[in-house]
């Protein structure tokens, strides 16, 4: 639609319209590293908040048949530090603390006495690769019942023997496929994969699947700057799939 107007009117109109666009320039704050560092961290927190809302507790992650599972040799060993923190498997217990009725140390036998779940699910790494693996263990929700945890609490804080640490939201922990995993491919966990006990939650990214579990604390408050080894460096805390 062509209009004819005086030069000064065109200039005035153009100027007014140009000014209306000015708010977009606010995105320019991202050009300043000190500001943008905070802003993108806030962006991840917002994304995590949205992710929590998108999480469907009853919705199961895809399960695979045995023929879809990658061979054990092609399931990568991933550790942040050491692949063997030299746990004494005979003396090992899982320490339970916080908002629970029966705190204390729990042996692997006590955990294995809970109903055993075997599942072939996808293990997705934040880097972009994934493998379908075979896992066995007890539901975290069953274990929380066993220790008399207050499931109205918001978080589980996890400490590991290799000084790795994690925290997860209660809804994800209580998901039907969230396991305290003591078996892979029908064999007891080997040391590289987190013996004697690791988390296995197909609704979470790989870095949330802490290995060499040492203690679990049920809590409503996470220590700031101590929410997870990678999360404290910038990874998404929710890490949900």
């Amino acid at each position: 639609m062509i209009t004819r107007l005086e030069d000064k009117d065109l200039k005035r109109q153009s100027r007014r319209q140009l000014l209306k666009l000015a708010p977009v320039a606010a995105l320019g704050v991202f050009a300043f590293p000190k500001v943008s560092d905070r802003l993108v961290a806030a962006g991840v927190r917002f994304s995590d908040w949205a992710s929590g809302g998108l999480f469907r507790p009853q919705h199961l992650a895809q399960m695979f048949s045995d023929s879809d599972v990658v061979p054990f040799a092609k399931f990568p060993y991933n550790g942040y530090d050491v692949l063997d923190p030299e746990i004494d498997l005979e003396k090992w217990t899982l320490t339970v603390e916080g908002d629970v009725q029966h705190p204390g140390g729990y042996t692997l036998e006590q955990i294995q006495a809970l109903p055993k779940i075997s599942q072939n699910t996808r293990h997705v790494c934040v880097e972009g690769w994934d493998v379908v693996g075979s896992f066995g263990g007890s539901r975290i929700s069953d274990f929380l019942t066993l220790v008399g945890a207050n499931t109205g609490a918001r978080f589980l804080e996890i400490e590991c023997a290799d000084d790795y640490y994690e925290s997860i939201d209660m809804a994800s922990a209580q998901h039907l496929q969230s396991l305290l995993c003591y078996e892979m491919y029908g064999q007891p966990l080997d040391r590289g994969h987190g013996a004697p006990l690791r988390l296995q939650m197909p609704t979470k990214l790989g870095y949330k699947q802490a290995k060499y579990l040492d203690s679990i604390r049920v809590t409503n408050v996470l220590k700031p700057g101590k929410t997870g080894y990678w999360e404290d460096q910038g990874y998404s805390w929710f890490g949900g799939l």
Partner: protein, 271 residues
């Protein structure tokens, strides 16, 4: 400038009688020698006054409404962030195959990437995905509701015009007459970017939440193929952007400024 003068000449013939009141307003710039009182008293200075009152008219078109301009620039910024941070993310696992053995497809130079490391790049990606998505939704909603999409949406009738335009740009063929705000090749390019945007957003959702959006993952042929599609959508943008920028440079300031102010001075098309 030439056109302005022509317009002036035409209008001179039909110059209306000056009236004192508008003269006082618009003719104020003429200087102290011309005073409204004298105009009424003497008919002699009518001619120079008529020229002042009948200003040059400029042909112009309000090409880009505000929502289009806002979303254009938000998309420009967020695409830059999404591509550069996305390349950094891809660098962490530059393959579409298995982890073991890992086949590195391409080694992207760090200097082309944003975020410093995987975690930093993810922060940028997870922040600007919201800007990108919100801007896309706003853009599409505005195009549909306002009907403005008719100027830009590539339709079957535009197919025949693509080749003449491409021949003009790439092989120095004759310039097809301008038929509206956008030529068929432009419509094809801009409509394609909407496709790339929708594809990158939907496949991005699959990569971000393959379990919560398992139905969407299924539609794209699974998690692995969604990653390929996500990359392909970026390649589409990377094919579009250089061509777009070259065209912007070739078509000069008035064309570029129109995406800032909305108004294009002396558009090359009629009607």
């Amino acid at each position: 400038m030439e056109r302005e003068e022509k317009n002036e000449d035409k209008k001179d013939a039909a110059a209306p009688q000056p009236e004192p009141l508008p003269m006082a307003k618009s003719g104020a710039v003429e200087g102290p020698e011309v005073k409204p009182e004298t105009v009424v008293a003497e008919p002699v200075p009518t001619q120079p006054l008529a020229k002042a009152e009948e200003p040059a008219l400029v042909r112009a078109a309000y090409e880009h409404p505000l929502p289009i301009r806002i979303t254009h620039w938000v998309h420009a910024i967020s695409l830059f962030v999404m591509v550069t941070s996305g390349l950094r993310i891809f660098r962490a696992f530059p393959s579409f195959g298995p982890k073991i053995p890992e086949k590195v497809l391409l080694d992207i130079p760090k200097s082309l990437t944003l975020g410093g490391w995987l975690g930093g790049a993810l922060q940028w990606h997870f922040t600007f995905m919201w800007f990108f998505a919100a801007s896309g939704v706003l853009y599409l909603a505005y195009q549909v509701i306002s009907g403005h999409y008719r100027t830009v949406l590539f339709m079957p009738r535009d197919i025949s015009g693509v080749w003449p335009m491409a021949r003009h740009y790439f092989f120095f063929g004759p310039r097809p007459p301008a038929m509206g705000q956008y030529n068929p090749l432009q419509k094809l390019a801009y409509t394609s970017t909407v496709g790339f945007g929708v594809l990158s957003l939907l496949t991005g959702i699959v990569l971000y939440k393959p379990t919560q959006f398992s139905w969407l993952a299924f539609l794209f042929g699974g998690f692995h193929l969604a990653r390929v599609w996500h990359f392909a959508a970026m390649c589409g943008f990377l094919a579009f952007i250089p061509g777009h920028l070259i065209m912007v440079v070739l078509h000069g300031w008035a064309n570029f400024f129109a995406m800032l102010s909305g108004w294009k001075r002396e558009p090359e098309y009629q009607e």
